[in-house]
């Protein structure tokens, strides 16, 4: 156990129980209350393969600084019961100086859990809950966790009241007594898990998931149409968009499959509405042919792929970064398009909004590669700034005297698009090779000119500084993309404390490959560690096929579901520094 009185900056808590035990609710209340207290945090849930019920655990990390990833080890494990402990044990390893809260009535602490060396506090959660009319163990657990970390009871009660009030006054009253009882229990146990002073300068937290942030980024960018076919872990994007679009005058249609959803989005965009759909790997596979149509017919559309473990149905609830290849290379023929990847949960908003802007500006399909670890994580973040990325499509206003050519060859490759309803702008959008006017053609010159045009508009576009994020300096570089950015940044902070300077280069723009900007950011690099969550090292291969990286290269990659964490990345760098 940590020395009494030590104040931590970040505490990781797992609340585990079988389905229906309410572990997730307890975690959600803690997270929001922490936000009200000026802290930051992140919550992920671990759910079993059962559709309903089965195992569930709330995995939380709370801190007095913004957090961008979960930690690999936990300080506190509160077990409402041990029914699924063996499955969870590997997912939530405990620190040796951590604490296990175990209810003696739930049986012995399982060996897999106890092996960590963490101390055990026996607290009779069930008995305590029974003593309170309408009392529930999960609320005792929430009170207990709050007590350990020094969270204010007022905020806890406030959040619980809003969450439980639909269940009636009695539930709220019982919840309150449970929270207090839990807190009182914590006071009787050793200290050492308090989080330091809150960030009170930056109040006004947002509580948002990556999937919700994608939805918000889309509507901020100008999306007013979505087509939907549900798939884990992307469904929450669509479920957020459905009521939200309706409220702002847009529409969402539930399609019969992804072949349909992508075409509905393309159809709406042809009609002049910025359109989006969201899916995961299996759905993206079904959409590929139509994404090629969008590329050839130059209709903007955004597809968000919340990646999960593949191939095939894989592990629907777990993260991986293994759809890079299909997103970049999955089209038949040469079909210039855009692939971008959010770097953190908060960045899901930024990147999606940027994707809408890019798709609309260049009249291309844009694929956003999010993943489960971002999409389904809920974070406390500072209120995001307003971005200037907006859907701004170059359209034809019908006022040109000469005959309108939809696919006219222009200096930047972008041709004004006539929107149905515009007199004089009638044309047929076509996936067949066509001439400038749009009429199908098999002429060499048309194929060549239209291919060049579509290539040039994407290749020569100014992506500005948004292509990636660079932090730190030094000759040692961690080069990564997407959701590994959070753990990589954390690794770099920890290394810095040990006097090891490492630079991070995290790519947001995947395709077109930002070669010049990337190489400039790597100038002077002597060692580059390429990190990614895929079995075959798709990102590494993609990098190598596009440029020669400077210096000595090492790579660290593995498939999901075991997320790559900060400490592991840090250790790779340390080992390299001290061979």
């Amino acid at each position: 156990m940590t020395a009494s009185g030590t104040v931590k900056k970040s505490v990781s808590i797992a609340i585990a129980g079988s389905g229906g035990a309410g572990a997730i609710t307890a975690g959600a209340i803690l997270l929001e209350a922490a936000g009200k207290s000026g802290w930051y945090g992140m919550m992920n849930r671990s759910v079993g393969p059962q559709i309903r019920g089965g195992e569930a655990a709330a995995l939380l990390r709370l801190a007095n600084h913004p957090v961008e990833c979960m930690s690999e080890e936990y300080d506190l494990l509160i077990a409402i019961d041990w029914k699924n402990a063996n499955r969870f044990a590997a997912e939530m390893p405990l620190k040796a100086d951590g604490l296990i809260v175990s209810d003696p009535s739930a049986g012995e602490v399982p060996e897999a859990v106890g092996a960590s060396g963490a101390a055990v506090a026996e607290i009779a959660l069930k008995e305590l809950a029974k003593a309170i009319p309408g009392g529930r163990e999960n609320m005792i657990a929430a009170g207990l966790a709050a007590g350990f970390i020094g969270l204010s009871i007022d905020h806890l009660i406030e959040v619980m009241t809003t969450k439980l009030s639909p269940k009636g006054d009695a539930a709220v009253a019982a919840g309150r007594i449970c929270l207090e009882a839990g807190m009182a229990q914590a006071a009787r146990h050793p200290k050492g898990f308090e989080i330091g002073a809150a960030d009170l300068k930056n109040q006004g937290r947002w509580l948002i998931t990556g999937n919700e942030a994608v939805g918000l980024g889309a509507v901020r960018g100008g999306v007013r149409f979505a087509a939907a076919y549900p798939i884990t872990p992307a469904t929450e994007i669509l479920e957020w968009l459905a009521p939200s679009l309706a409220k702002i005058g847009g529409a969402l249609v539930q399609a019969e499959d992804e072949l349909s959803s992508i075409n509905m989005a393309i159809g709406a965009s042809f009609g002049g509405r910025a359109a989006i759909t969201a899916t995961s790997g299996p759905g993206l596979s079904l959409m590929m042919e139509s994404l090629g149509l969008a590329a050839a017919s130059e209709v903007p559309v955004v597809v968000v792929d919340v990646m999960r473990c593949g191939p095939s149905t894989g592990i629907a609830t777990k993260s991986e970064q293994s759809d890079l290849n299909i997103a970049v290379y999955g089209f038949h023929g040469d079909a210039p398009h855009v692939v971008v990847a959010p770097l953190t949960v908060a960045d899901c908003l930024y990147t999606t909004q940027w994707a809408v802007h890019l798709a609309e500006a260049m009249q291309v399909p844009a694929i956003v590669l999010s993943d489960q670890s971002l999409g389904q994580a809920r974070v406390l973040m500072k209120r995001p700034v307003n971005l200037s990325f907006l859907a701004n499509r170059k359209t034809y206003d019908g006022k040109i005297d000469a005959a309108y050519n939809r696919y006219a060859l222009t200096a930047d490759g972008i041709s004004p698009m006539a929107i149905p309803g515009t007199a004089g702008g009638q044309y047929t959008a076509d996936g067949l090779t066509h001439c400038e006017r749009g009429t199908p053609s098999t002429r060499r010159s048309d194929q060549r000119e239209q291919m060049d045009k579509r290539h040039d508009k994407v290749a020569n576009f100014d992506y500005g500084v948004h292509w990636g994020e660079i932090t730190g300096t030094g000759e040692t570089v961690i080069l990564t993309w997407g959701s590994i950015t959070g753990p990589a940044r954390e690794a770099i902070r920890a290394l810095k404390k040990d006097g090891i300077e490492v630079k991070l280069v995290a790519m947001r723009l995947i395709s077109p490959f930002p070669k010049e900007a990337l190489l400039a950011s790597l100038e002077g690099a002597r060692r580059i560690l390429v990190v990614e969550q895929s079995h075959s090292g798709q990102f590494y291969r993609y990098l190598r096929s596009n440029c020669d990286l400077p210096g000595e290269i090492r790579r660290f990659h593995r498939p999901g579901p075991h997320l790559i964490g900060a400490a592991e990345i840090g250790n790779r760098i340390r080992d390299w520094q001290n061979p």
Binding site: K247, A251, E256, A418, G425, D430
Partner: protein, 277 residues
């Protein structure tokens, strides 16, 4: 009833100058004529009409019109058209397929478009063969029709599009013969005017791979019974007809699809407030 004002448009206003790729004598020429005539009678300017298709000889039609068009991928005309119409209620939307495009690769969309009942018109040019790929059997081809891909025939009974449309909830079901320009024009116009999802199957001979279909002009006949709004009656009739009955067979009363709209209209800032704690 007041007589509608004469339309200021002629059929040729809906025709582009692009020459069709079709074989001489192909039934699709007639379908193009019927569509442009029906649009002229409808009287909406060409820029307010969108013609959306998949892939096949028949699906080439959008570029031959002077409307907004989309020649998409094989089988997905209905999905493209649905997205367009939901996003742009103000447009008149026609979706076009062949029997391969609409009933085989796009079969699932057909069921759900009927169910969804978006206000648009779906015209399938049925020649009971895959024309564009040079003569393979389609879902409406007779079981004993011999071809290189299915020597001796598929042995499969043909798919009955009208029954399926009706059972799936289409709000207007009709069959026409391409050679009957008057009948086809009238039915297409009625289909466009009827709210909801209107399905018009047009028998359109493929003179190249199904020369036997040249005889259709002798075998089609107008439906002997009046159209109905009773799906049970329509079903019984369509189930038992010889596949050559033409005319409007069913005209339903289902309300067309409308996308979910919220009573409260807010701006994006209001959506963002939900994330504040």
């Amino acid at each position: 009833m007041n007589a509608p004002l004469p339309s200021p448009f002629k059929a040729r206003d809906y025709r582009s100058d692009v020459a069709p790729v079709w074989c001489p004598g192909c039934g699709d020429f007639h379908v193009l004529m019927s569509i442009t005539r029906a649009l002229a009678a409808l009287g909406r300017p060409p820029e307010e009409i969108a013609v959306i298709s998949g892939i096949g000889c028949s699906s080439r039609i959008p570029a031959y019109t002077n409307c907004y068009g989309f020649h998409g991928v094989h089988g997905r005309s209905l999905a493209l058209a649905t997205g367009l119409k939901v996003a742009r209620q103000d447009l008149t939307v026609l979706a076009i397929s062949g029997d391969g495009d609409g009933y085989s690769i796009g079969g699932n969309h057909f069921l759900h478009a009927c169910r969804r009942n978006v206000d648009m018109t779906y015209i399938v040019m049925d020649n009971r063969v895959y024309g564009m790929t040079k003569g393979q059997p389609s879902p409406t081809t007779e079981p004993d029709w011999d071809s290189a891909l299915s020597p001796g025939g598929t042995g499969l009974g043909p798919f009955h599009p009208l029954v399926i449309a009706l059972a799936s909830g289409a709000n207007f079901v009709a069959r026409e013969f391409s050679g009957d320009l008057k009948g086809s024009t009238r039915t297409i116009l009625e289909a466009i005017r009827h709210p909801g999802f209107s399905f018009v199957e047009i028998l359109s001979p493929c003179v190249t791979y199904r020369p036997d279909e040249k005889d259709w002009k002798n075998t089609v006949h107008p439906a002997v019974v009046e159209e109905t709004d009773d799906p049970a009656r329509a079903a019984r009739r369509i189930m038992t007809d010889d596949g050559m009955n033409t005319g409007i067979l069913y005209r339903g009363r289902r309300a067309p699809y409308v996308a979910h709209v919220s009573d409260t209209r807010v701006d994006i800032a209001a959506l963002e407030r939900d994330f504040e704690i």
